[in-house]
């Protein structure tokens, strides 16, 4: 859903004016095919989906062959739709719970705990955490399903009968997403922490700063830009998360775990309302962009 713009190559102005055209050709020619592909397969679909969001396009029926321009009707319907508002709220809970709090904190804690440990410990912990990240979403969902199901591992171990996926679907998908996504944050923070100079921490320790103060006043300020970058990346990833929830709860029971991507899928591909689905996608895109802006802003403030 969210697309980060491809970085543009630095364009250096040609030294002599007469050869400007040759200069342009020099970078345009090798870049041309890639540009064409980008426009065709990246910008094209995005523009098409923006257009579709303002029509009554459907997957079947007469609207699928001659769709009409309906103006803002899809958006008016969207903001008055209790199911959309519900999905929006759940998406917010899901992003905050599983990404901003869960993955981010857990990743940082694991990275911190790994500092100064032996190679074997680091290797084993890294291996286990990354293994969860490497498995495909559907496999991760299947694992969690068999863990939380009525006759699943958790109930067997605890000796109780509880339909976790029915009674606490949001908790289930949040836990599953933390389990799966923590590796990314852990890797980012491991790299950032290795940049924190050891002598700085040592001298702080000599000055009498305990581990808490060293973390709060030295480590965290030094890695703050990594924190912001990590938050932005995992927020965008989680915002668009679909496969894990779809395979685990299908958005249910009812709409209890139907985040916006799932609601969008239901409208577009189950009820065949492609136009309405595209409108939801567009709103989701705007939300993703807003999140990115806030994070970018925070990084800039830090830099200034």
């Amino acid at each position: 859903m969210t697309v980060t713009a491809a970085p543009h190559p630095p364009v250096t102005s040609p030294p002599v004016r007469g050869s400007a055209r040759r200069g342009v050709l020099r970078w345009l020619l090798p870049l041309g095919p890639a540009l064409v592909l980008l426009v065709l397969f990246l910008a094209g679909p995005i523009l098409w989906s923006v257009y579709i969001a303002f029509t009554n396009e459907a997957l079947t029926g007469s609207a699928s062959v001659d769709s009409r321009f309906v103006g803002l009707a899809n958006f008016v319907k969207l903001f008055g739709d209790p199911n959309f508002l519900n999905s929006f709220l759940l998406t917010f809970v899901f992003v905050i719970g599983s990404a901003v709090i869960g993955q981010n904190t857990l990743g940082l804690v694991i990275a911190l705990l790994q500092r100064g440990r032996g190679r074997v410990t680091r290797g084993v912990v890294n291996g286990v955490v990354i293994a969860a990240w490497v498995v495909p979403e559907v496999v991760a969902a299947a694992c969690w399903f068999s863990f939380l199901a009525e006759e699943g591992t958790l109930n067997t171990v605890l000796g109780i009968s509880q339909e976790w996926l029915y009674t606490a679907p949001m908790l289930a998908v949040i836990l599953a997403n933390i389990w799966r996504g923590t590796a990314f944050s852990m890797l980012v923070y491991s790299a950032a922490l290795s940049e924190v100079p050891a002598d700085l921490l040592e001298s702080a320790a000599v000055d009498g700063a305990g581990p808490g103060r060293r973390l709060l006043h030295i480590t965290l300020p030094l890695i703050r830009r990594s924190i912001m970058a990590n938050l932005m990346l995992i927020t965008l990833q989680t915002l668009a998360s679909f496969g894990l929830i779809y395979a685990l709860t299908g958005g249910g029971p009812g709409t209890a775990s139907q985040t916006t991507p799932l609601y969008m899928y239901e409208q577009a591909f189950r009820y065949f309302e492609i136009g309405y689905g595209s409108a939801i996608a567009l709103v989701l895109l705007v939300i993703g962009a807003l999140f990115s802006l806030v994070y970018l802003r925070l990084i800039k403030v830090e830099e200034a």
Binding site: P30, G32, P33, Y271
Partner: protein
């Protein structure tokens, strides 16, 4: 730089290659693609089409049949088919099609009318009853598919459960109240047994609408989704609310499956492969095909089913004439408007729906046979004593209002049912929400009749 250029060009060629026509195989012969659905517990259609492919290819040298399966439930199949049908290049030549989706595709011009071909096919007049021929009739009066199956719906009950609960066998409920009373008795006498199972959530899609809601609505006095005389959709009303109230009673009194099971996509497998054989379920409101789960052709046969299971008609609300209600639908083999080889494609339909293949399908799936010669064959009902009963339900059966808007109306009904199932809305609130959403689903308030 030269290397980059060459690489980019290579990529471009590859991209250009994507657009080539997949219809014609390299050998120069013709190819027909047939789309169908398959599930691990439902392999019967695949078997029938595999047989048809062999028969057809040996009789039509130079034409290859390409069978393209879609793995998954009906809802997954509808989506896959709709997406493939978006472009003439990806549309399958022939497809297994649910009759309630036919009119939406006719309106979009995706289906080819078959009348000219049917006129020259003797089986069409000799073997298909008139009622069955209507299954895939478009608003223009043309026929858009040859029926593979038809069906009716009713109540299945477990005789051991009934005996243990002290209920009479055979059981013949006359009103909704009789059904509820039996369910209440089971709940009271046999804890741990699910008294009554029905589909009532969105995850079961059209099964909820048709096996669940419409079996109730069309059993109320004058209950219907569409007013045929005024040509308008009916927005809720007392009958609609009453049907929802029945579902509400089932779940509020905990006469139905647990909520988690009501929302489980595999509820029908639980009903038929686990609960009924284990005497953990009393009554199920389901289709004629249900017995297929227990027959020797099933993936998990239950040899004792003929002694343990009973079946009876779903009564009308208060026993109003004709005393029972049923809904009928079915699936057809349809031809794409985009296929280049229409005569060859139609010939495949005639092979797929001939007596032998129709028999394979009906015996395996438990669906009612659309062909007279299959229905009359003793092999058809040999392992299934329930066939005659469900075939006779045709006398009280109703058909869905098969208009283009129906799938959207159905989605709204599922929404209302699910709200009542979870208890998030009362029957009155859910009916009011349906009435409010209906104009949007059918394309305008002028197409809606206030109750």
């Amino acid at each position: 730089m030269k290397r980059t250029l060459a690489g980019s060009l290579l990529l471009l060629t590859a991209v250009a290659g994507c657009g080539s026509d997949p219809e014609e195989p390299a050998s120069g012969g013709k190819e027909l693609e047939v789309l169908y659905k398959v599930e691990p517990t439902w392999p019967h259609l695949e078997k029938m089409l595999g047989d048809a492919k062999k028969q057809y290819e040996s009789a039509h040298p130079g034409v290859t049949i390409k069978l393209t399966p879609v793995q998954g439930n009906n809802e997954a199949y509808y989506t896959k088919l709709a997406l493939l049908n978006r472009s003439p290049d990806s549309a399958p030549d022939l497809y297994y099609h649910d009759t309630f989706q036919v009119n939406a595709d006719v309106a979009a011009g995706k289906l080819a009318p078959l009348d000219d071909y049917l006129a020259k096919w003797p089986d069409w007049t000799a073997q298909f009853p008139d009622s069955v021929k209507q299954a895939a009739k478009g608003p223009d009066g043309k026929i858009y598919g040859v029926p593979i199956s038809t069906d009716t719906r009713g109540l299945w009950y477990q005789k051991d459960v009934f005996a243990k609960a002290g209920l009479p066998v055979p059981w013949e409920p006359k009103t909704w109240n009789d059904v509820l009373t039996a369910a209440r008795t089971i709940k009271q006498k046999l804890p741990g047994v699910v008294p009554f199972s029905m589909y009532s959530t969105k995850i079961h899609g059209e099964a909820s609408t048709m096996q669940g809601f419409e079996m109730l609505l069309y059993g109320t006095p004058g209950g219907t989704l569409y007013d045929e005389t005024q040509k308008k959709w009916v927005a809720g009303g007392k009958q609609f609310t009453d049907a929802l109230a029945f579902i509400n009673t089932i779940y509020r009194e905990e006469l139905g499956p647990k909520q988690a099971d009501a929302h489980n996509a595999k509820l029908s497998d639980k009903n038929n492969f686990e609960w009924f054989p284990d005497a953990k379920l009393g009554i199920a409101l389901d289709g004629a095909w249900t017995a297929a789960a227990w027959k020797p052709t099933s993936t998990k046969p239950w040899p004792q089913w003929q002694d343990k299971m009973g079946w009876t008609a779903m009564p009308t609300q208060n026993g109003e004439a004709p005393g029972a209600v049923s809904m009928s639908g079915g699936w057809v083999m349809a031809m794409s408007a985009f296929t280049k080889n229409k005569q060859e494609a139609f010939d495949f339909i005639t092979v797929a729906t001939n007596k032998q293949n129709s028999m394979t399908y009906s015996v395996g799936t438990g669906d009612l046979a659309p062909r007279k010669d299959v229905a009359a064959d003793p092999k058809y009902s040999a392992d299934n004593p329930s066939v005659k009963f469900f075939t006779d339900l045709a006398s009280v059966t109703h058909y869905r209002p098969a208009f283009e808007a129906y799938p959207k109306v159905s989605a709204q009904i599922q929404e209302a049912m699910e709200a009542v199932t979870t208890g998030s809305r009362s029957p009155e609130e859910a009916a009011a929400a349906y009435a409010e959403a209906l104009p949007g689903a059918v394309g305008g308030a002028d197409k809606v009749l206030a109750p």
